[in-house]
């Protein structure tokens, strides 16, 4: 089966895009350890379902490093609270600070994971579809830039190898000579890439880019499931903002630290969160289930 036509990939670009925007709102509104942990776990699982963590394996180390830094650094700068855990070099380390750090780290990870998933669903084709009418130049620029990132990585690696044979390396010598080497490598990269980009532009113009409005080979269909996703996004988004405004999705740390366990109305918001982030899994899962079912009954 073609991965590009099923599950989340089959959604209309607009509803998919809005769903992800909504997801980001949810994550930013849920400043509570239980909410943050819940979104983190669900988005993580979504990544696993989508590409078996292939993208996360590549970038996971850096994400983890960033999260670790936040967990360590937030308590160091957090000074408002009453629960002193211990003293570090005469500075009090507060429970409030640690909790804030955990929330921030989990939210950051959830956002990054969501973006990884976004990148797989919103391909450059869909991106062009969404934005080429509203902001054509910017859409093109954004697309070319996205194309450039992996290209730049590969090229910089090649340039680095060749320059190493000349004895130029960013891993050797004093600080200044390293900086100088790095600047030279970048210089070569830019000069080379610009020239190649001109060729790409030529190839686009040669095939008539920009002479009239682009048509679409497979028009994106707006299906019932898109309506459901849109409704969910709208209702969920309103809920999340309300929850945030009422403080139900936020853990109060001052003047007094609120208990971490959920109570009362918070359970309602929690179930909304759970449903919102579990929804894509249901879509993907339903697809798998159907396939499984159709194969087994043949």
């Amino acid at each position: 089966m073609s991965r590009t036509k099923r599950g989340l990939h089959a959604l209309h670009p607009l509803s998919a895009f809005l769903y992800y925007v909504g997801g980001a709102v949810f994550i930013m509104a849920g400043q509570h350890p239980v909410f943050a942990a819940c979104t983190f776990v669900l988005v993580f699982v979504l990544n696993g379902i989508q590409d078996h963590f292939a993208a996360l394996k590549k970038w996971g180390r850096w994400y983890a490093a960033a999260a670790f830094l936040i967990v360590i650094l937030t308590p160091a700068f957090h000074r408002r609270g009453t629960h002193i855990l211990f003293y570090f070099r005469d500075n009090p380390v507060l429970l409030e600070g640690v909790i804030q750090g955990v929330i921030a780290a989990l939210s950051l990870l959830a956002l990054l994971f969501l973006f990884v998933s976004f990148n797989q669903v919103i391909t450059s084709e869909k991106f062009l579809f969404l934005f080429s009418r509203v902001v054509p130049q910017w859409a093109l620029l954004a697309m070319l830039t996205m194309r450039f990132v992996p290209l730049f990585q590969r090229r910089l690696h090649d340039i680095g190898l060749v320059q190493k044979t000349k004895g130029m390396s960013v891993k050797k010598g004093g600080f200044l000579s390293r900086i100088e080497s790095a600047m030279k490598l970048l210089h070569i990269l830019l000069e080379w890439s610009l020239e190649e980009a001109l060729q790409t532009a030529d190839s686009m113009k040669a095939r008539g880019y920009g002479i009239e409005r682009r048509s679409r080979y497979s028009p994106y269909a707006f299906s019932a499931i898109d309506a459901v996703v849109l409704a969910l996004t709208a209702a969920g988004g309103v809920c999340a903002i309300f929850g945030y405004a009422l403080g139900d999705t936020v853990l109060t740390t001052s003047p007094v630290l609120e208990p971490v366990l959920l109570s009362g109305r918070e359970w309602f918001y929690f179930s909304v969160y759970l449903f919102y982030f579990a929804f894509p899994m249901m879509i993907e899962g339903r697809e798998r289930w159907r396939w499984h079912f159709s194969k087994s009954t043949k």
Binding site: E191, W192, E196, A206, R207, S215, Y217, S218
Partner: protein, 552 residues
Amino acid sequence: MALLQINQITFQYPDAPTEALRDVSLMVNEGEFIAICGPSGSGKSTLLRLMKRECAPHGRLDGTIRYQGIPLKELPPKTTATAIGMVFQDPDNQIVMETVMEELLFGLENIGLDTLTMRKKIAEIVHFFGLEPLLDRPTYELSGGQKQLINLASVLLMEPRILLLDEPTSQLDPIAAKDFLNMLRRMNEELGIAVVIVEHRLEDVWPIADRVVLLHEGRVIYDDPPHKAATFLASKADDAFFDYLPSASRLFLHYAATNQNSRLPITVKEARSWIKGLTVRVKEASTQVVHERMKPVVLETKNIDFQYEKGKPRILDRLSFSLYENEKLAIVGGNGSGKSTMLKVLAGLLKPQRGKVVYQGRKTTGHIHPDIAYMPQNPRLYFSEESVKLELEKAAHDSPLSPETKQHIIDEWGLAALGDRHPYDLSGGEMQKLVFACLLLRGPRVMLIDEPTKGLDPESKKQFGEWLNRFSWRGMSFVIVTHDIEFAADYADRVGMLFRGEVTAMADAAAFFKGNAFYTTSINRITRGVSAPEVSTLKEAYVTWDVQNGSP
């Protein structure tokens, strides 16, 4: 009426001292196949680009270019975009979208076709090219040959009446290049699309062209059907253009006088039928060419395994071979067979997972050894300074050679004249010369060269081959990775083929090509299974053949 008519155009780039094209006229008729050849800098690409309005270079243009009688400038944009198609040299830079399907659709969506029309066209072209299995693949995963076919297909979808190609096969391996040209011929014959192709690899283009146009210093020197053009070139006194002739004609010309009325052969088939009428004996003295195999080994690889990432296929798989002193070893193989990777491992730039590289008895695996120089495929990657002079100074700075030797190298290469120019402003041949000289300044004993003949005209190619000969006499050894079969046959001592991660079928250059059906020179294809002794290069024929009745 001509499809495209170029009428006495003169073109000058801004700030250029001389015109790039002078008084050029060219007529492209419906369904014609035209090959444009000429040395680098003769204005071939400029002429080709001027025919495509969207890609025309900036500068001063006098004269007119008309498409079906209408000046190119006055055509509606949609007509120029669809009727005149263009395929460029570099397979990667032309590709815009992420998947093959999207790439094929790119042009059609640009001109606003509706889904039904697009579906019909795509289905047809996919079938014609046999692209079905590739449709959902990401474009960056494809091989160079596949990419170039996709580029051709996506241009073809626009239903052009005329197709312009700028050295489209220069980055492809011999098999992929042949496939590409065959496809081009089919389109020309079956769909009647006119083709104008600029090529250095003329061997395979001569036989399928209707006309050959020769450009020199911005002027059209000759424009005629291939047989006539070949006869003309052969009759010209100076042999600067002799190398543009296909080997079939060159072989003929060596043994038969041109003033004969017999037809000059340009294809393998024609040359074979000519040879059948010959009586050829092997010269007595010539068979004594024995290679002494007792030379010391300089560089050796033992059981090298290499993969870029865990779980990815192995690029090198138990690779083992030896390089002898002052030997020129050529390695051929398909696009993506791992030839470049192999050179990087030899140079110590990549560390293999298993196995070792041994230089003069010492292990150098994963380390850069000052005696081993590496010349990248793209000379641009090598330059880091602002001028030729600085680049040379940098190379000379940390060299173990004596100042006299260094000066000698710089003088020998005549690089002082290029002095203050930026390395990027040099021509392809000059860039290569500069890299070669910079590498020599470091006093290496072994040089690893990646695709040296890419985009070089026959003359620069010959010159490069001469350098290799000169320096191997002085004791250097070379490993050359190349697609250029003819070049390998002419200049290498031994040739090996990289296949499935190991070097197979390593043999003396002459012996290597004799067993192959596709990976071989046209001279070998001409002389295989005829009454004359089988040879793989012109030189070999000159040396070993004793022709009794050359002129029929």
